[in-house]
Amino acid sequence: MNPTLDQLIAQFTELIGPEAFAAAAAPAVPPSPPAATAVGTTGASPAAGGGVPVAAAKPAPAPAAPPPPLQATQHALKGYDLDARVAPNQVVDAARLLDRAGFAIDAVTGVDWLAQEEMEIVYDYFHPSQSLRMVVRTRVPRAAPELPSISGVFPGANWHERETHDFFGIRFAGHPNLKPFLLPEDANFHPLRKDYTP
């Protein structure tokens, strides 16, 4: 129930699959890899909690190369220890993995990347008995934002997903009760979308 960072990295490397790492590595080496070290498919992991703190000076808005799908970050710099980017259909598996590892659901939220025509869904997890924070993120196309719900694994995600649906219009397939939550009952708008005008 108390996994080390290395174990988590190994498990997530397996979950994400080598293709994703290859895809991330393919489009040229980014001039300054953001945030931290990439964790290669070989499992050559950096020291736990380590990583190279480079995050700061990066003026470009981020249209550059996609960062590697699994990064061990420094808590002092980012506020979390491990950052995993998974495919939309892998979020439930990721949640199960973290559930088995004893993590607790912290929050689920979205970010609307209007320029890239994408919606990012961010799952925050914390560990109740260990100083370990984990972020799982995924992106769905903005035109049809839909991905499976993790409320079957973490019932606490139920409300977070409803809220995310309210604010971003992201549909969580398999969610038991995806009706307006914080917004009025008849709300058909999604205020946190960047193109929303009241």
Binding site: A57, G79, D106, D124, G156, L192
Partner: protein
């Protein structure tokens, strides 16, 4: 309508022998502490299903964050959970400082700890009084407010506000902690110790209170984990989870304090956790008062208009109700791209539906009181 043979026999028999009704508790209900509405499907006084309906004072702070500068959003954070404003501003300020890599002077960090812990005590006092009101004891809240008033006076002297403090700034504080405040805080600590003992004698050891809270509303560690419940709720379930220890921030690592923890999982455990936390907060304040150094209270050269480096950053603090996390996403401009506020009451309430199943109404309300909900915190 008079119940004749016809009307009785015409009543729907398909519903089976049990008769349930829906009790619409709130949004204006004395136990709802604001505008929480709970749709309760009841069988007599037994709750079959209690579904919280929230959003009545939803203010969309997260959207507000996206159309004003970092500094202008700061006052908003103290209005989310108005009872622990210090912690919330601390989280936001901390997130921005983390992104900008601002080194906060030590004096400011100690002042933050002192004011945060004072705020925690004042928040717990409101909870204590309100819980007793829920249980039908009217007097304790006035005793608690009597003492809380002294905290508010102290904090008012620092930043001018009595409730929605906006005392922290990026890189330090709004102004320096003066000797008057430090002396007043020291006096307050001396004053509160015997008062806490009186609270215990008067209320905590009361047999009716014990009966109303012991073995009521079990919330175990597993449920807390699955729902993300934190703060006194998870500590009342036997898990010593405290952000001050798990993700140390500010100068908490330098201070010696215990994380109160009770394994009973019931409402009384959550009650005792909070009562012990007040004592621990006093300990923290005393140590911080002894250790606070002289020096600047604001980091030098913090730009007036902040442009955070692109990326996302999060910062969590232990607020009075549990883990409060701010996740900010910056695209390098002077206004945030996204501000995510993870409120502890939101997660703590989300387990209510599961936890209250099969409870009797007064017990369910006692349990709700022991969760210490602040509705603006849930709705944001």
């Amino acid at each position: 309508m008079i119940a004749t043979r016809e009307t009785v026999s015409a009543a729907p028999a398909a519903q089976g022998p049990q008769e349930t009704f829906v009790l619409n508790l709130g949004p204006q209900h004395p136990a709802a502490h604001g505008v929480l509405r709970v749709l309760m499907t009841m069988e007599g006084e037994w709750i079959q299903r209690a579904e919280p309906v929230i959003g009545y004072i939803h203010r969309m702070h997260e959207k507000m964050g996206e159309n004003r500068t970092w500094a202008k959003f700061l006052p908003n954070t103290s209005r989310i959970d108005y009872l622990s404003a210090m912690h919330y501003t601390h989280a936001f300020v901390g997130a921005v400082e983390r992104a900008m890599k601002i080194e906060v002077p030590l004096r400011a960090e100690y002042a933050r700890v002192i004011t945060s812990e004072l705020n925690r005590i004042s928040s717990h006092m409101v909870w204590w009084g309100a819980l007793l009101l829920d249980l039908g004891g009217f007097t304790p809240i006035l005793y608690a407010f009597d003492d809380r008033e002294k905290i508010l006076d102290l904090l008012e002297g620092l930043c001018g506000a009595r409730l929605t403090y906006c005392y922290y700034r990026f890189g330090g504080l709004y102004n320096d902690v003066d000797d008057e405040f430090l002396r007043g805080t020291r006096d307050f600590v001396q004053h509160l110790r015997p008062r806490l003992k009186m609270y215990r004698d008067l209320v905590t050891d009361n047999v009716i209170l014990r009966k109303r809270l012991t073995n009521i509303g079990p919330i175990d560690a597993e449920m807390c984990r699955r729902y993300g419940a934190t703060g006194p709720v998870i500590r009342g379930a036997g898990v010593p989870y405290d952000v001050r220890r798990m993700e140390p921030y500010s100068v908490y690592p330098r201070l010696d304090f215990k994380v109160p923890m009770y394994p009973e999982c019931d409402s009384m455990a959550r009650y005792l956790v909070r009562m012990d936390e007040m004592e621990q907060s006093l300990r923290i304040i005393e140590q911080a008062l002894d250790q606070i150094p002289t020096g600047p209270f604001l980091a030098p050269k913090v730009p007036r208009v902040l442009r955070l480096p692109a990326g996302d950053y999060s910062y969590a603090v232990e607020a009075a109700r549990g883990r409060f996390m701010v996740r900010i996403v910056s695209d390098g401009k002077e206004i945030p791209y996204r501000v995510r506020l993870r409120a502890p009451s939101f997660s703590n309430l989300s387990l209510y539906e599961e936890a209250s199943r099969g409870m009797i109404l007064p017990d369910a309300l006692a349990m709700m009181g022991s969760l210490d909900l602040v509705i603006p915190d849930i709705d944001r």
